[in-house]
Symmetry: C2
Subunit: 316 residues, 2 copies
């Protein structure tokens, strides 16, 4: 009756992009590189390191090319960047990022407000990005994140049929992987289950990544619900930094350390050292003094059952 859980999941750190872009503090490049070094040492193997957007719009991420160049020197590290359009994609290709994430907001209202394009105009841009990438002979993977897939603060409900239509459209336009993102923290486990199951029927293994926010406390329940449908790749953010612009005081992205704990408690390997991650969180809190950190596990620490060697025997 129980679902089969995977033995291993893949967690992508998005704090350097999704986290840092949402806060006022500009983390100096040297500290970003130190973060990357520590992340690599802790076993993290995929990091979204920045975004190729104009520096005047997002000064926090103005050093993205430099950060990509450093991340590429870390053995085995997948370096991911966000690109909002063809211009950004050209920069990602030039920087030789391993993958570029193109966000497409399923909510028309959100898409217009954020990118000044309709979702279908973004689909067309994805086609141009694919053509450019192929013409350049680049190996930078094209991933599309379907944001506001579970609802939108501007538009309200987002129809699952529209999510599925755009999922098919971006695959047709040349996306190699597609993720579903709960950008504003509206998802619940039932929606997650239904939308990921429907998405898998369209995209198969190209349905890559679950991106959940913990704005209303359901972040980890949603991760679990997606895991049950076969999702094995998740975004998360050290210390849950960034918060939620629409709800001051509330969390943003699920905290990396919480997701690592969830997986470890279920005997699912992430390759990430929990204690090293907690040390990184403490360092980040010092760097980002005055900014709010979020998450849960840091308060109580691991259960004794995950510390004692006897735990494995009992859990087995």
């Amino acid at each position: 009756m129980s679902p089969k859980f995977p033995q291993q999941v893949h967690l992508r750190e998005v704090g350097l992009r999704d986290g840092l872009q949402s806060i006022a503090t500009i983390l100096p490049t040297a500290q970003k590189l130190e973060w990357l070094r520590a992340a690599h040492a802790a076993g993290q193997r995929e990091i979204e390191v920045g975004s190729f957007v104009p520096a005047r719009l997002m000064p926090q991420l103005a050093d993205t090319a430099e950060v990509v160049a450093f991340a590429r020197t870390l053995p085995g590290m997948e370096t991911s960047v966000l690109v909002p359009n063809l211009k950004g994609a050209q920069l990602a290709i030039a920087a030789q990022a391993d993958s570029m994430l193109v966000p497409l907001s399923v909510s028309h209202a959100h898409s217009l407000a954020n990118l000044r394009k309709t979702p279908d105009e973004v689909v067309a841009e994805i086609g141009r990005i694919r053509a450019e990438r192929d013409a350049a002979g680049s190996r930078t993977r094209i991933e599309v994140g379907l944001s506001t897939a579970f609802g939108c603060t501007l538009q309200g409900p987002v129809a699952p049929s529209e999510v599925m239509r755009l999922l098919q459209a971006v695959l047709d336009a040349g996306a190699e992987q597609v993720g579903l993102a709960d950008t504003v923290g509206y998802a619940d486990p039932r929606m997650v289950r239904e939308l990921f199951e429907a998405g898998r029927q369209i995209a198969g293994d190209r349905l890559g990544c679950g991106h959940f926010h913990d704005t209303r406390g359901l972040g980890l329940a949603n991760v679990y619900a997606a895991l049950e449908t076969g999702v094995t790749r998740f975004d998360a953010c050290l210390g849950g930094i960034g918060g939620c612009p629409h709800a001051p005081g509330a969390s943003g992205n699920v905290a990396m350390e919480d997701v690592v704990y969830l997986m470890r408690s279920m005997q699912i390997d992430t390759g990430i050292d929990f204690d090293a991650l907690m040390a990184m969180r403490r360092q980040l809190a010092i760097w980002l003094q005055g900014e709010s950190l979020h998450g849960s596990i840091w308060k109580a620490g691991l259960p004794r059952t995950l510390l004692a060697p006897a735990a494995e025997a009992v859990a087995a």
Copy 2:
């Protein structure tokens, strides 16, 4: 492929017992009655109102008999009390509580520390309680909460086989309902799934209640995992009051308003008015000034999709 979710779940408020017993503030009886009145008006229909333990051990709950008497005047309200032993059960029977919850700690170390009895001595006491109840011609239901069922801060791991052995033993001794409790916040969704599925094979519908703490952020994921196995009755605590004695700053019981939100987001009826609950939370924060409240949904409020009438059409 998706599990069938129930249309309705039953939530028991345990704040007046599990919450209040863990904090220093003694809530005056008049405010407890006001809380009960508001809870009834908000649609709550089962409340654990106190504990029949010696007043010198737990002065916060010294007025339990009076609170039970008041709760019994609220139409349709199930009045539940905790009883640690036969003496407490006699008081519960005399007070005509609808049900009495006998805690049995599966962890031997925890059982000895808390009740100065082994788990099997508690089983014997349950037998005496059943005999007393039957002899008195009382209709007070006997429920047993198997605490530390998912691990223990003192003992560490708790063997699932020992949980199952004691589950069978308490049923044999005369318990009419049995719940599994994650007293210290060690459970994860996989354990929850496995233990509740195993428990149902022994107890059938007598496996009544999921009692989860949110100490490490997995409270709602665990509620969801239990729900998937068919559990339709959960304990929760307004404002997550009480916290965790072993982890200062961390949550205790899952917050009632968070569980109500989880269920509402999944279109599962709880009978409880969310806005009324939030008003109660604000009142409680005033009464318990200086104590920490917990939970998540209060920070961001309901998603717009649960406010707009259009939401139902899309969700359907």
